[in-house]
Symmetry: C2
Subunit: 286 residues, 2 copies
Amino acid sequence: MNFQAILSSAPTRFPDQAPVACQGVEGAYSQQACLQIFRAPSITYCPTFESVFTAIENGECRYGVLPIENSLAGSVNSVYAQMFLHRFHIVRSTTLRIDHTLLALPGTRMDQVRDVYSHEQAIHQCSVYLAQHPEWRVNVCSNTAAAARMIRESGRPDAAAISSVRCAGLYDLNVLATDVQNNPHNHTRFICISKAPEIYPGADRTSLMLALPDKPGALYHLLGRFNELGINLTKLESRPIPGTDFEYMFYFDLDASVSSPAFAGLLQELDAELNRFTWLGSYSAV
Amino acid sequence: MNFQAILSSAPTRFPDQAPVACQGVEGAYSQQACLQIFRAPSITYCPTFESVFTAIENGECRYGVLPIENSLAGSVNSVYAQMFLHRFHIVRSTTLRIDHTLLALPGTRMDQVRDVYSHEQAIHQCSVYLAQHPEWRVNVCSNTAAAARMIRESGRPDAAAISSVRCAGLYDLNVLATDVQNNPHNHTRFICISKAPEIYPGADRTSLMLALPDKPGALYHLLGRFNELGINLTKLESRPIPGTDFEYMFYFDLDASVSSPAFAGLLQELDAELNRFTWLGSYSAV
């Protein structure tokens, strides 16, 4: 891991345009996140998170944009699991406000609705509103925008979707109800990943993944080394290593950049000392 | 928080029999976990995790048994979210091996299967096997055992369920394929919760939930206090506080018991110092 080489070979400006993989269909929250990160991305829509990683792996897309954490639901475990498997790099992050609305074909009245479609996470986040309508059947889709598109394509006057308000314009649907989520503080943080490491000017956050020897104080002593450099920890999670019975990896988000020689030096030391140490990337939030 | 009072008022023996709430239907992995914890529980099946908490809140059940962490998928975020809301107490934990099998009505052959039903987590854990059968439609259910029961009740010869092998006997189904999961190291840890705090002899693990002041080193200094007492940390997660925009709570599992006066004293200090501090329980794994 030669940070100096990565830093000196890095382009000075994050690209405006690039081929980017997103899960879902047009109108997905991932697309909105993608448009916050790139000025004019060329987006390939993938059916699953896994297939976003595959599109990057096989060179079809240079980048992928994926949800990593929601302020109500916590970490997106399956994205962390794929990051563990693929060891791609984080090059950007961005945060999006989630604004669930109830959409249906023009002409559909509330009292006609029998079936509601959405992603299981969105259904969970709208449970209070849905409980007020026990007469509705609630159906799970792969993505909130896919639910909206399905309502348009089916032509059904008795069905509605819980999706972003942007899907109303996109799929020519009417808004039956806004702000149907339980909690207005609903934000999702997205990461932009690439296969090769890329560090851009202004990168002020670093993500790490590592395993520690199983002895009391191991984590404490590691945090002491970050503390000596005055580094703030913004996120720390221990997550089971896939394929083991509850051995843990630690995932760190730190307010620190590898452009600091002291911090880069510490990472080099940890890389040499620890069996499993991965620098996931240094990046900025946009 | 008077640990001495809780300890001295605690019954000396964990109950053999009690009313317990579980998510799912008979044959659910939660039921198996419940039978590892209680000799003869009287189980009430609830449709969602949330309704397990409600059953305890309104006194219908004294205990609830819930999955908290899977060795492949990580923490069960929605159970952590409910623990944050309800502040119930953990009184036991247990770990279960997950053994997904493909079940269908007696007489159904593999080449007749058109629809496969299961819980979304199980579908995810069997993605490699399912990808070998692109001719199958994959459908999401609320629970793996509910999928098996539905196959029995529907009488459909073209449908199969991914469930525990125990559901074969329970719902009179045939095993079409065993070990259909991607990874044999598939374990889920369950917790048993109660409304009132209860500590039983042998409790050697403690779970805490707390918020720290947002300044560098806050977590480091807290870990230093655990380290002074020689306490091992078995799990640590920072999770967004529901209703905020990425303010974090820390969740700790520690190899320590409040029957140690030094540790109980430290918890009393933290309770006094920190704005948000919750002792979730001291318990043993069975």
